[in-house]
């Protein structure tokens, strides 16, 4: 049995909250650099330079890369051999609260009915998955809603098949146009149930940008959808060129014989994510 203290969890989440807002991870920076190198439109190339420069300023000057420092989704992998001394969920919320307060991050969470800001950026959305062994991992994904709002979910009939699913993904991204700040990382969940599809679409954003699915048939879907999006899409910030998306990540789960859920979670170029293993 391994013991993890509540305070260590709070500290880890707080550090991730501040770091995520200011320091983009190498995976997204490399993807933006690669996009810049293959970009054909001079304006889009120039805008990609501006976005890379922005990431550089954010990191050096400690100004958030984007003012929308997001609503936070936290994925916890909790090994069955691990005991948390204290309250796991409260420790995470306190990490988010203190990170946003002390890190000068924007508080963007409000009541959905009254629209009153909670003033603390909590609550975060927390998912805990139990795993065998002693692993204890926290993944932190703060997400702005310019991109989140362009996401979608459709319960397709099985007769639509994968071609129908691919059409829906492409259509969702192209319809979003400039709103979600492309170039995008597109998270897709195919199968499962209504909520499982949405969960997969969000969680698959944690995969390093552009790493293909381990399933060959799924990797082919990813590649084809990405090519179609960049063919039809509106380009960097909707200003043209061949980089509407940097990557399409697809996760699947067995589904009901009568069902084909497809969820598309759209992530912007300000793809902030951190992970820690305690």
């Amino acid at each position: 049995m391994r013991i993890i203290e509540e305070a260590a969890i709070t500290r880890a989440v707080q550090e991730m909250a501040v770091a995520a807002a200011h320091h983009l991870e190498p995976d997204i920076l490399d993807a933006l650099l690669a996009a810049r190198d293959r970009e054909t439109s001079p304006l889009a190339k120039n805008v990609l330079d501006i976005l890379l420069k922005n990431a550089d300023i954010a990191s050096r000057e400690m100004i958030p890369a984007c003012q929308d420092t997001g609503i936070c989704t936290v994925f916890v992998t909790l090994g069955q051999e691990v005991t948390v001394r204290g309250d796991l969920l409260a420790a995470i919320q306190e990490g988010v609260r203190s990170g946003y307060a002390e890190g000068y991050l924007r508080k963007s969470v409000c009541d959905p009915v009254t629209r009153k800001n909670t003033g603390t950026n909590v609550p975060a959305v927390i998912h805990v998955e139990v795993a065998p062994g002693e692993e204890f991992r926290i993944a932190f994904l703060p997400k702005g809603c310019g991109s989140e709002n362009m996401s979608g979910l459709k319960m397709l009939p099985p007769s639509s098949g994968i071609p129908g699913a691919m059409d829906y993904i492409v259509e969702t991204v192209v319809k979003a146009g400039p709103n979600p700040c492309p170039p995008l990382v597109v998270g897709v969940g195919i199968g499962g149930t209504f909520e499982r599809a949405a969960y997969m679409a969000k969680k698959v954003l944690l995969r390093p940008v552009g790493r293909p699915s381990e399933r060959e048939d799924v990797a082919r879907i990813e590649a084809e959808v990405l090519a179609r999006i960049n063919q039809a899409g509106r380009g960097v910030l909707g200003l043209g060129g061949c980089n509407t998306a940097l990557a399409v990540h697809v996760e699947t789960f067995p589904t009901h014989i009568a069902s084909l859920p497809v969820a598309v979670n759209i992530q912007c170029h300000s793809h902030r994510h951190k992970q820690v293993v305690l």
């Binding site: 976005l51 922005n54 100004i63 958030p64 003012q67 420092t69 991050l105 310019g146 200003l239």
Partner: protein, 192 residues
């Protein structure tokens, strides 16, 4: 100015002074790259809701919007010694429901990201108003173009309060011009 020293090609950006004069607005064309310098006001969802509530009640607005530019932004808080945190644009369509009413009052320009609704575009055309897109997700870089910040109204709305900014060489793209052209639509048409 740090932006100008950056290895970014800003050669095509032409200077535009705020508040925007009628003839200066009329000269802008969809697709122009511009550097905004001068005074602007900010507002996003809550500010718009409250401005329109004041109008509903027949009360005065906290500022005279005639001739002004409204920037859709909810900045992050400043670190000590700074005037502001990150301050890039938010998505404009959420303001579409309110914008024609503010254009009727003489609002001259808006600055955000993403396309506007047809009623907003029609109202802009009628009033000789223009819409610009700032670079979405470039909040740190744009922060450095904001030289002074004053709170104007709705402090309790937090990041959604209304501020007055002094900006210098704030980069943007003209999306909708006074002739009714729409740059996003033109890009989309090229894509077929």
């Amino acid at each position: 100015m740090s932006l100008l020293r950056a290895p970014i090609d800003f050669a095509d950006f032409k200077p535009v002074t705020l508040p925007l004069a009628d003839d200066a607005a009329a000269e802008l064309r969809a697709g122009d790259l511009i550097f905004l310098t001068g005074t602007l006001y900010t507002g996003r969802d809550q500010t718009h809701r409250r401005l329109c509530a004041l109008l509903d009640e027949g009360r005065e607005l906290p500022v005279d919007l005639r001739g002004q530019l409204l920037y859709y932004v909810g900045p992050s808080p400043p670190r000590p010694g700074r005037v502001i945190g990150a301050a890039g644009p938010t998505t404009s369509y959420r303001m579409d429901a309110y914008t024609p009413r503010l254009l009727d009052l003489g609002l001259k320009a808006t600055l955000g990201k993403g396309a506007r609704s047809l009623p907003v575009r029609e109202a802009m055309r009628q009033h000789g108003a223009v819409y610009f897109a700032a670079f979405g997700g470039a909040g740190a870089l744009l922060s450095q173009c904001i030289k002074a910040v004053d709170l104007v109204a709705f402090e309790d709305a937090g990041p959604e309060a209304m501020f007055r900014f002094e900006v210098c060489d704030f980069p943007a793209v003209v999306i909708n011009d006074v002739a009714g052209r729409d740059f996003y639509e033109e890009i989309a048409a090229q894509k077929g």
